[in-house]
Symmetry: C2
Subunit: 174 residues, 2 copies
Amino acid sequence: MIEVEVKARAPPGIEEKIINLGGAKIGEETHHDLYFNSPYHDFAKSDEALRIRIKEDGAYLTYKGPKLDPDTKSRREVRVKIADPLAMETILESLGFSLAAVVKKRRTKYSLEEAVLCVDDVEGLGAFLEVELSGGADWQVQKRTALDIMAGLGISESIRESYLELLAEGRDGR
Amino acid sequence: MIEVEVKARAPPGIEEKIINLGGAKIGEETHHDLYFNSPYHDFAKSDEALRIRIKEDGAYLTYKGPKLDPDTKSRREVRVKIADPLAMETILESLGFSLAAVVKKRRTKYSLEEAVLCVDDVEGLGAFLEVELSGGADWQVQKRTALDIMAGLGISESIRESYLELLAEGRDGR
């Protein structure tokens, strides 16, 4: 499935702006994300990602393919719920994958039109906004919607780097 | 966790012999097993295995390390329950792993002492017996127990090849 995603640094008062635009708060989550790399296939170069996410409702293994366009973070994403993240980590390490980084964040989710807006407070990086749409017939249309929502919130500058890359680059922006 | 496993072709009347030895039938399962290989790391050479097993109670991803001794199929095994085997297969293929073989079997399980005895009817291969013990403090002691049970059933010749290897070698024994 293609996941359309646009990300930006969250300006002050972003949650009020989302609500003023008609957004509704739909949840809060704590993410403990383990990112893996492979000695055979450098994901930083191939622009892929392999992640175990542990959150309140369980754990998930996610593969993300290379980004699809120069403007957004849209990419193919495949996810499976797993019963035991520690066993999954052991399997990945047995297969040669190595833990590359851990990212922790608090995510507050809003629903707006057909998008999900995530206000993320990322440990070591600060506050970000992600606008996500997925599962649509035409991801280019969804990309336009995501960029329009960003514009409606007064945000013109988006970021294509993952939290993983931002942490690696040491740009903590504080 | 080390899984001690001894395997042999099942002689006629094996299930009666197990019951006569004090075994109790504990279940029947249908296994649909997908075995994967990696272009980076040939599991046939490294004596490892990566498998998605789909059975009645759900699906599992299992990694098996190289065999630990020359007499049995004992090896380290790590298993995680997965909610969606098709998504797991897509993730493995995205990471470069390729589906190498599919093995289907009907397994009848017996409990005998601290062992589980599996009488397997494997599509294309015929009937086999596996004696399994796991989770003990000393796998060498468990290995002795497994070999003693085999001897008690009148079986002296064990097989170290996996069903995957037996199918690949085309020894269908019929």
